[in-house]
């Protein structure tokens, strides 16, 4: 023993070693159990999942998210296209006078963007991804502008169709159809829009070659002053010889955020109003009921992106959910100050931004909302409860834009980005059924049956059971209860079928001894 070693030191060391060893052993046993009981769908990487057949998940990627700006860079390389069924690339912003695009550079971007390679880019490729080009009419919201836009006899319409055919058949684009996004169409234009859609559909169908082009239509949120899409519109649409519109995308993000339902904001109407998606959905279901059987199958609500949103409202409480801890508050404050300054400057120059009630944005304290995985999961679940099979995600690249610029907080950015796909997968992905434990339980049932059969098939045992059963009801009742108990525990004690099955096997052994003694007698 060397001199530095005091009495009892070795014992202490030994004790510590034993303790460490025991702890390590405990940990490894725990880990083994954990691995063994891990749910297989949790282990599935997101890019290996696919969507369920009946579900339609639409992702929008407007052109400004394709080229990027100062605050964020394009994100389309990172989207999980395997969790999208449709990709909408926008916008072909129509100039009603010519039928061309308002800005030629947009057209070039739409035609040459690398986003269309999403079908083949591994490991997130989706060869069944449907690509649609969004058609919009952004600037002039007057009735006269729309009148010339919807005129299908004029030169501009022919030019529009020609341009669209070139665009959708381009070897880079290879689009499957068009999304018509005229959601600010004034009242009374529904009938003309139906005519426009039918004409557009017939042109695209014949000019585009063998594939049938789809047309999706954006419908406005209700209660916001532009209800062109009444019953007469759907009646007119239904008159077309073949279905013109494949799906209707309902605009949800125009619905106001509300203090009353922070998580279901935009979905649940505020008390006494019809400001939420619930009332809009009810409205469309009512209007479509006669002409489109099962309206829920035609409708897809469109939600805003994940991340920070703000509204100017007359309340002071910022509504931040409990899972908001990963939000970098510095960035939020910087953003808030910048917003306020921008709005104040705009007002000073006489270009005040106003909210839907006509009040100027900077008249109230700002309230910031953060759309995160919990709020989105709630909203998607609500949609499922309404019988709606799908969702449209506006601006996939926006996930990161508002709060997380590239320079800031790379880790938080990744978490927020990943969680959107996590929520989508949770609600809409087709998870392969977990079959390991049911299979083991099933095989245990056969072993059980085999053991019982091995002795019960003997005439001696059968006779004995019959003889005893004839005058001892308790024997029969106990046997029946035992069998029911074993089966019930096998089926109902999920996920403990295996334990229950093994328990069942053990419970049978005393009976086997009894049967054996019957045979020997």
């Amino acid at each position: 023993m060397f001199s530095g070693c005091k009495e009892g030191m070795l014992e202490k060391l030994g004790g510590r070693l034993v303790k460490t060893g025991v702890r390590k052993a405990q940990q490894s046993v725990k880990r083994t159990f954990k691995d063994f009981s891990k749910r297989s769908d949790h282990e599935m990487p997101l890019h290996a999942l696919t969507l369920r057949d009946e579900v339609e998940v639409i992702g929008w990627e407007p052109y400004w998210l394709l080229e990027g700006t100062e605050t964020y860079e394009p994100a389309y390389d990172d989207h999980l296209y395997n969790l999208l069924s449709t990709l909408v690339v926008g916008y072909y912003d129509i100039n009603p006078a010519t039928g061309g695009v308002r800005d030629d550079s947009t057209y070039r971007l739409l035609r040459n963007s690398p986003v269309y390679q999403a079908r083949t880019r591994l490991p997130i490729a989706n060869e069944n991804l449907k690509i649609l080009i969004a058609l919009s009419y952004g600037e002039d919201l007057s009735t006269a502008g729309y009148a010339s836009l919807l005129d299908t006899k004029g030169k501009s319409f022919k030019n529009l169709v020609k341009n669209l055919c070139v665009l959708v058949s381009d070897s880079n684009v290879m689009a499957d159809g068009i999304v018509v996004d005229f959601r600010s169409l004034p009242k009374g234009q529904g009938k003309r829009l139906a005519g426009f859609l039918a004409e557009l559909h017939s042109y695209l169908d014949t000019a585009g070659g063998a594939t049938v082009r789809d047309i999706y239509l954006c419908l406005p949120a209700q209660g916001l002053g532009t209800p062109y899409s009444g019953k007469e519109f759907f009646d007119e649409l239904a008159l077309a010889p073949q279905p013109t519109v494949r799906k209707f995308i309902i605009n949800t993000w125009d619905h106001p955020y509300s203090v009353e339902a922070p998580y279901l904001s935009q979905v649940a109407s505020a008390k006494g109003t019809r400001s939420g998606l619930d009332s809009t959905l009810a409205y469309y279901k009512r209007q479509m009921a006669e002409t489109f059987p099962n309206p829920a199958a035609w409708l897809i609500p469109e939600f805003a992106y994940m991340g920070l949103r703000y509204v100017a409202a007359n309340d002071t409480n910022p509504l931040l959910g409990e899972r908001i801890r990963r939000l970098p508050l510095d960035s939020v404050m910087a953003r808030a100050v910048a917003d306020r300054e921008e709005d104040d400057n705009a007002c000073a120059e006489g270009r005040c931004k106003t909210n839907i009630n006509g009040a100027s944005f900077n008249a109230f304290p700002y309230t910031y909302y953060f759309e995160n995985d919990s709020s989105l999961a709630l909203k998607y679940r609500w949609l499922a409860s309404q019988g709606i099979k799908g969702v449209s995600l506006y601006g996939l690249g926006y996930n990161t834009r508002d709060v997380y610029s590239k320079a800031q907080n790379e880790k938080a950015r990744k978490v927020v980005k990943g969680s959107l796909w996590q929520v989508l997968a949770g609600q809409y992905a087709a998870v392969p059924a977990r079959t390991t434990y049911p299979t083991i339980a099933f095989l245990l049932m056969f072993i059980l049956a085999g053991l019982l059969m091995g002795v019960v098939i003997h005439p001696e045992v059968r006779n004995e059971i019959a003889r005893k059963g004839a005058h001892r009801w308790s024997f029969r009742i106990v046997t029946i209860l035992l069998v029911i108990g074993i089966f019930a525990s096998l089926i109902l004690t999920i996920p403990g079928q295996v334990a229950a099955g093994t328990g069942g096997l053990l419970a049978v052994f005393p009976f086997l001894r009894r049967f054996r003694s019957m045979i020997k007698r």
Binding site: R39, P438, F442, G454
Partner: protein
Amino acid sequence: MKKLLTALQENLWQALRLLPRALLLGIPLTLIYILLVRLHNIGSNYVLDIGVYGTGYLISVVGVYLMYIIAHFTTQWYGLPPES
């Protein structure tokens, strides 16, 4: 050697005789298997494709054989002649 071959032949004949019964019993048993799988997957967006049904049927048929084999050995374990 001859004994073994005879035993093998006999067992093969037994196994063949059991086949129609196993194939028929496999159908209702598959339904029980699917019920177990469904119950086990409650709460997730699981998909029951043809593969699960196929596996279920295969396991059911194999399970019937397993049941008969175990019954056979159980009787032997008790030192009784197998059922005639």
